[in-house]
Amino acid sequence: MSDDESGLRAARLVIIRASAFLIVVVAVVNAGFVSQGEQQGFPLWYTSFGSASGAVTVAVGLLAPLLRARALRLGAALALAMYVVFVALFPLAAHVGQVERMPWLLTASSAAVAAALVAGGVSWGWVTVLFGAMAGVVYRLGFGGFDVGGVINDVHAALTASVICVLGGYVLSVGAGLDEAASVRRAAGSREYAERGRLAARTRTAALVHDEALATLALAASPLPVPRDRLAVQARHAVAMLARLIDDDAGDTASFDAALLAEARAHDAQYLSSAASVPPLPAAVREAFLGAARQALDNSRRHARGTRRTVSVRVTGGTVEVEIADDGVGFDPSLIADDRLGVRQSIVGRMTRVPGGRARVQSMPGEGTRVVLSYAPESRVEVAALGDRRSLRRGAAFVGVGFIVLQTVCAVAMVIAAPSSWPRQVAILLVVVIAAEALRRSPGLVPSRGRTVVVVAAALLGAFITVVAAPTTYGDLWPVVALAFLLVGLALRGRFRTALAAAAVVAVMVVGGGVADGIPLGQIVALTARPALIVVIATVMLLTVRRMQRRIAALHHQAAAAEEQESWSRGARAELRERTDELARTVVPLLSRIGEGQPASADDRHEYAALEGALRDGLRAGSLSREPLRSAVAAARGRGVDVVLLDDSDQSLPEVEVRAVVAWMVDAIAQAQRIAVGRLLPPGRQTVASVTVDGRALVFDGTDQGSVTSFHGE
């Protein structure tokens, strides 16, 4: 299943699930507060509304896979709206109840930011971040709580929400990028493959016309003594072949299995089908497989006569393998010259020309030969759509600057609250800033081992100092959260495992410190939740994006392959129908007449010769094969003139000039008695065309001067 927005959809799923997860965490943390008797005193309706708001988010997150895109966005918008209303109603609730401090719950805006991303994209996300931050400041001023712990909490809440917004925006851009890459590929692929299909059909028709019609007509036209009845048989055979052309088209649209089976049968080989069904293959891959298999079978039949031959298909994962094996004389592959067409070009070359295609030839003298053709879809799309990395970097840089500023605010706030702690605050701020700079200045996306060590060491050291030296309160623990953000930065830049491990160590330190200080468990959870959570969420989201990229890319790839094959067949069928109609009008009537076996008059012969010549022109005359030259040439051939048209140009001649040449040739060929050769010359010659009529050569001059164009007047 793949629609045009499957990438975006998957991205939204990731984000809405993150939102639901965040709500659960917020509920747990809040329960911790409530269990300590804090943050209570709200009227029941307000508490109920808050719970309902959270429940809606969780429900949308759980049901997301079942929802259509529109429903999902509406659900997310509903969850967001409930959050906004919940925050907006706080003054009323506070007025009715007895609230002496703005509750922590109101500042936990990350889940709402995630919902906003799903509902309306990145801009909604940032508006929500801003809304949460403003609400925090206003309510704290109005309802109390504008103290160190409160401000630092709000700062970190805003930062967390920003990180979620940047990450979510990145996830969305990856999804949208995948969709766009896929739609571009599909549009291009569709056109390209329809054209290829047409080309294949034209080639097939041309081959048939060449092999059957042309040969028959040439014999019928020539005065060579050929038994009439034999000629009639051949003509009837040709008609039958041409009539079958359109039915044979089944051979192209049939399943890959059936096409391979047909190849195997045609070469007396046993066919072993795969247990798993072959996934839809891009038309080019299909062509390459069938062509290479045909060549390998042909080689085997020529060089290993009378041996057992097998063709087998295996599908493992996304890889399709076709093996052509015989138990014949074998050969030493290293002894084959590079230019030998059979093996190098027709088998290996064919497969390696398609992206993801490979071929191995295994053989030893006396050991038989195994040719293994394989195809594994390359994750081309994945590479093409890494998502908007620039916006990720920009977002990260923005958050980084905000980070430094906000941590400075935290440090200043702490120094104001407890002036004696200033050396500790300054030292830790320094550690944080240095580590952040080390990370920011990393030249590549993934920081080097040295930089990673610096960041991790800073995080652990900072956390250790803080836990040991400071009392376990939220305000005093600000550096821990700050350092956790550094670890998020590490995760963002691809050091997932290191970031997670370091975060775990930091969390253990905080918990250990809290236990040592005799703090209640609920409070410890509340203190540890944010630092641990942001690292975990960032890592999970980024890892999910990676997986999503691969999965969506594969999905798109399959859809595109199916579509390519479809348009290939469509193109081929349309072309075949056109060609068949054309042949039914032109070639078939004459062939049928020859098939009747009546003696041919001179006029008949000329008519056959004219048609034979016209068919030949289809192969060789290129841009000269057009009106009014076609009619003039047909008339000349009808008079018994042997006309040859050759296009040796590289097709780069301007249309105007081709038209002039054609008009000029029409005049010249009208004069011909026995033989006429018209030719478009290769590029770079003094003239573009020549015509030779009954042994007199004329060159096209393009202008009206010179003797060449005055052929008439002579």
């Binding site: 192969l619 030719r679 010659r685 042994g695």
Partner: protein
Amino acid sequence: MGAGVDARVAIVDDHELVALAVQNLLADAEGLTFARHADTVAALTSRAADADLVLLDLSLRDGSTPAENVASLRRWGAHVLVLTSGEDPFLVRAASRVDVAGIVRKSAPPAALLDAIAAAASGEHVATTEWASAVDADPLLQGAPLTEREREVLGLYASGLGAREVAGQLFISENTVNDHLRRIRAVYQLIGRPATSKVELYQRGIEDGFVPGPRRV
């Protein structure tokens, strides 16, 4: 052909009827006898050599390439004249690069066809418009060591003139025209000969006189 033994002509073509037509054509020809018809080169060469000239269809349906076919026929000991029904120039070029006497259109007038067969049977080069135009238009030829005059002859020949008319137009003898055509053919076949290493290419250049060889003073 000199007096005495007739040249034996075999044909490799998917269509038996073409073989039949050629057989009839040769029946009245002096100095030529029809030897055998086969569907594929492999079928023809599976027996001992019994033909001096093989008429080879350019696009056989057994998947063989002109180059392979010509090579095995030459090993078998026969000259090769390629018959076409008006192929695409790439196939014609592929055949021209190997050791063939010439390339002739099946639909050419019978007299012309017979002349070509007779000439090829005696080991002569058969120059035709089809051959000349395909070779003349080959981008490979641009770097080939041909003289201006040779290029001129080839161009005129490719435009549909015969040796006599080319000679008349350039004020040279017909023999000279044929000499030029022969050399052009030789040079072209040389271009087509695969060289597997640079050393080999260099050696061949010396052999053929295109590269000045190391000289002892």
